[in-house]
Each structure stands twice: as C-alpha cells, then as structure tokens.
C-alpha cells in the first residue's frame, strides 16, 4: 500500500501509524471515486465509504479539504 504523502495533522503533529493507515485508505478511496470507468454499484458504494472515512479523518484533524468527488 502506498503511504500517504502527508506526514503531519492539521496541528502539526506527526501522524500515528493508525492515522497514516486511515489517511492512506481515504486517498485510495478518493482515487477510486474519481474514476469514471467503474460499475455504478462500485462507484456509489465507494463514494459512500469515502465520505464516512472523510469524517473519521476530519474528526482526527487529518484533513479539512472537501473530497470533491462525492
């Protein structure tokens, strides 16, 4: 799994291992949600998963940007 490019949270603290994993998952879902060649059942469910993971990342102050592909 490709680690996330980001190394700190919004407070400037280094990401923990769990936070890195979560953020990596978010980035992978975001990449999948951006694709237009997937089946509707894949795209719709990936987007649902994406926004749930976005909330976990946002709560933990890892991201503040909009996902934009939801």
């Amino acid at each position: 799994m490709t680690p996330p490019r980001q190394v700190d949270d919004l407070l400037g603290r280094e990401l923990s291992a769990d936070e890195r994993e979560l953020l990596g998952l978010y980035e992978r879902l975001r990449a999948l949600a951006s694709r237009s060649d997937l089946a509707p059942c894949v795209t719709a469910n990936v987007k649902q998963a994406l926004v749930m993971i976005w909330n976990a990342c946002n709560d933990l102050a890892l991201i503040a940007e909009e996902p934009r592909v939801d």
Partner: protein, 448 residues
C-alpha cells in the same frame, strides 16, 4: 476488555484538546474555509470584496473579526435574486443528495439548503458527538417521534444512530397513541422528540393506562427544537413522566445539524462542538465580544457543510457562554449555560418552529376579507405554547368565516413546517388599529 463502547468521548483526540491547541485547529480550518469560500462562492467573494478583506488576512483566530457578518437577510436576498439557491452554494445542484428548507420569514420564501453526500454524512457525525456524550451506545433501541419531512429536525440524528449501530425505530406518520404502543412494545431505550412532544406522549400514555416508568424501558429522552429542553422545570417534568434522563441538544437548518449538546454529567449547560464550529458571542448592538457569563448573540462559523459555507452567521440566538471547566466530563469545548436562552429579535419559537410576524402577515393579507388581525401567543399548562391569529372581518363578510378559517389555518401551517395555528374570529371593531408602526403581536408567555 476495553473497546470503543467504553470511551466516554466520540472523538477523544479533539474533544479533549487543550484550549490553545483547539484554537490552533480552528485557525487552520478557518483559514482554509475562507479561502474556499472566496474561490467557490460568489456570495462570499462579493461580501469580502465589499469589506475589503482577502483570505490572506486570516492568520490568527482573532482575525475572524476582520470578516463581515453573514445574515439570514443576505441569504434570502441572494436566493431571491438567483432562484432557487442563490450564488452562495459552491457546487452545482446535481452534486447534492439532500434538500431541506426552513420556515418562511418575510413573505413566503424559506431558506433552501442543499447537501452533498459528504455534507450529509458530516451532519450525522455531529449528532454522534452529542448522542455518544449522553450515553447512547450500539446496544440502544432509539425511537424517533419525528415526521421525517422537509424540516431537517431529527433527520441527522436518525443517521447518527444508524452509524453508532443502534436499532432505529422511525415513527414517521404514526399517531401519538401508536407511537406510545410501539416504543413500549419494542422496548425502546432512547426517545427523541421536542420537549413539548415528549410531554404529550407521556400524557397520552397515562390516558392509555400505560405507566412509562413501569411498563417502558426508556432510559434517556433526547430533546431538541425548543429552548424548553434546557429549562430545569421542563426537564424535571419529562424525567418524572418518563422515568428517564432528559438531555438537550440544539441545532439549526442553516448548519444542518447540532452545534451543542448536553453530556451525561449535565452541568446545567450544553457543550459546543468546537473542533467543527467557531461560536462567537457578541453584544447584538455593538458587535463587540461578550465575555464568559455575559449574554449575547450567537454568531456561528461552520467547518463542515461544503455546499454552503457559513461564516460569521448571525443567528439571533441569545446565549451565555461559560468555560469548559464548569463541567467535569473532561471535554474542553466551552458551554452555553442554560442552552439557547431565546432570541434577540422578534422571531417567535412555537413548539420548535420559527414564526415571524411578517410571514403570518404575508398569509393573512392574501385574504382581503380580513380587515385586521392580531397574533396572540400563550403558554398553556405552563408548558405548551399556543399561537392564535385573531381575525376581524368586515361585517358583511362574517358569514364567510366558517369557510375561511380552515383555509387560513392551513396556509399558515403550510409555511410553518406544519405548525398548528388557532384561528379565531374577533368581534367587529375589537382589534386595535394603527396609524404608524403596527403592533400586531402579543406574546403573553411568562418572561425569563
């Protein structure tokens, strides 16, 4: 074994942040939010250009005061100019998955809101902060006494409970009697309702011969939509009738969710979700910040709703902020003592619905048979608010009253989220007339 269910906090990381770190997080989020609003919302760009402020001026939390206020009137005007949603929104309508609206204010135009998939998930997330803090866990069975209409109400709370993993009982169009039966039969452990309706259900149960304290399993009643949820006497009555703890929450359609909640320590106030909102309290006249313990107007900045940036929005809610140390729960979010205390303007809150005299007038004036009218607000049995529109007809039109009254009542309800209005016929010449500024509203409820 310790697991997530044993955590007292929904989000231990940011709910317990030291205040200076919380401020740093808010500053970072504010900086990004203002930049996004500038880039994507013509409404905000226009507002900031008029105030000669650019996003790069936001460097500290205090810099928020450089930003102009946003008002409901601004929002309504922008919607009227560019129907249906104005140029406040940052994305095309096709990106939205939810539509909700407020009650009408001046005239019949409500505020219309759109939410993306992410926004809707965030709306549920904010309720999770509150429900978890009041002790709701996956083992709970949660009953919603809510009509699931275009009023946003408990919609987000429903999704919050699904997310937590509760068994959710949506009661939709059930009668009060059917609701009481179902929540007893299904052994609901949590009930969500307005304070008024929580009492009504309890009274209905008594009439049905059901003792909720004995026959029911409800441990917690979560209320929202009326300031009464933080009035100690009301809360006590709910707790006595249900044999359960009663916790308050408060939100608004403009943010789509709640921004304050009572934790299970119940220190006499509601915690602010400060990692997702900046809540300023300002003197409504001077606009200067009010200190701890001073009453003022809530001005909210929300970080979560992507479709509609809400920055320094003047809510006209009256509040009194106190430090987080007034509560022993460990959360570092400050509190509003007594929840939402009321309104700083003339808007009236009736059973959870906003009623503006101008909106009532806009309806009544569509009936030329009505010569004069008065709005009278009373509190019955110390708890239930009633609103009555007294109408005076021209003498020759009085025979039409039986046909007119239900139409007026329906029109009033239609623009007020279904709120029931009493409509009464006044005697000829009995209502006051005015030469200058009319005073057509009497609020006879106890003050304070």
């Amino acid at each position: 074994m310790a697991g997530p269910d044993t955590s007292p906090y929904w989000n231990p990381k940011t709910e317990t942040l030291p205040r200076e770190q919380l401020a740093a997080l808010q500053t970072e989020k504010l900086r990004r939010l203002v930049q996004r609003a500038w880039n994507e919302s013509p409404f905000h760009r226009r507002l900031y250009e008029r105030a000669r402020v650019t996003p790069d001026r936001i460097k500290t939390l205090d810099d928020i005061r450089r930003l102009p206020f946003m008002t409901r009137e601004d929002w309504m005007a922008c919607q009227a100019e560019k129907p249906l949603f104005g140029d406040l929104v940052t994305r095309p309508r096709a990106d939205a998955i939810r539509y909700h609206l407020t009650s009408g204010t001046s005239g019949r135009q409500p505020l219309r809101v759109l939410d993306s998939r992410k926004d809707w998930a965030w709306i549920g997330e904010m309720w999770c902060y509150g429900f978890w803090a009041f002790g709701i866990r996956p083992r709970d069975t949660v009953f919603f006494a809510f009509s699931y209409g275009s009023f946003i109400g408990f919609w987000g709370a429903h999704y919050c409970c699904e997310k937590i993993g509760c068994l959710v009982l949506p009661s939709g169009n059930l009668t009060t009697e059917a609701r009481v039966k179902q929540l007893v039969e299904m052994e609901a452990t949590v009930v969500c309702a307005t304070p008024t309706y929580a009492l009504r259900m309890a009274q209905c149960a008594q009439q049905m011969g059901i003792d909720l304290r004995r026959d029911g399993k409800v441990e917690r009643v979560i209320v929202s939509g009326e300031p009464a949820g933080s009035i100690p006497a009301t809360k006590r009555l709910i707790e006595e009738m249900w044999g359960a703890k009663c916790g308050d929450t408060a939100g608004m359609t403009e943010i789509g969710t709640i921004m304050i909640f009572e934790c299970d320590r119940q220190p006499g106030g509601t915690h602010i979700i400060e990692d997702h909102f900046i809540e300023e309290v300002l003197d409504p006249t001077s606009g200067e910040p009010a200190g701890y313990g001073e009453r003022g107007e809530r001005v909210v900045t929300s970080f979560g709703r992507g479709f509609i940036p809400l920055i320094r929005y003047r809510t006209k809610d009256l509040v009194e902020k106190v430090p987080h140390s007034d509560c022993s729960c460990g959360r570092t979010g400050d509190l509003y003592r007594g929840g939402i205390l009321g309104r700083v303007d003339d808007m009236k809150l009736i059973r959870g619905t906003n009623v503006y005299p101008r909106a009532v007038e806009a309806i009544v004036r569509e009936y030329p048979e009505v010569e004069e009218f008065q709005i009278v607000i009373t509190r019955e049995d110390d708890i239930r608010d009633e609103i009555t529109v007294q109408c005076e007809l021209a003498p020759d039109k009085r025979p039409l009253w039986d046909a007119l009254a239900p139409r007026i009542g329906k029109d009033l309800a239609d623009v007020h989220e279904g709120l029931r209005f009493n409509v009464a016929l006044a005697d000829p010449g009995s209502l006051p007339r005015f030469e200058l500024k009319a005073k057509r509203l009497q609020d006879l409820r106890p003050k304070g």
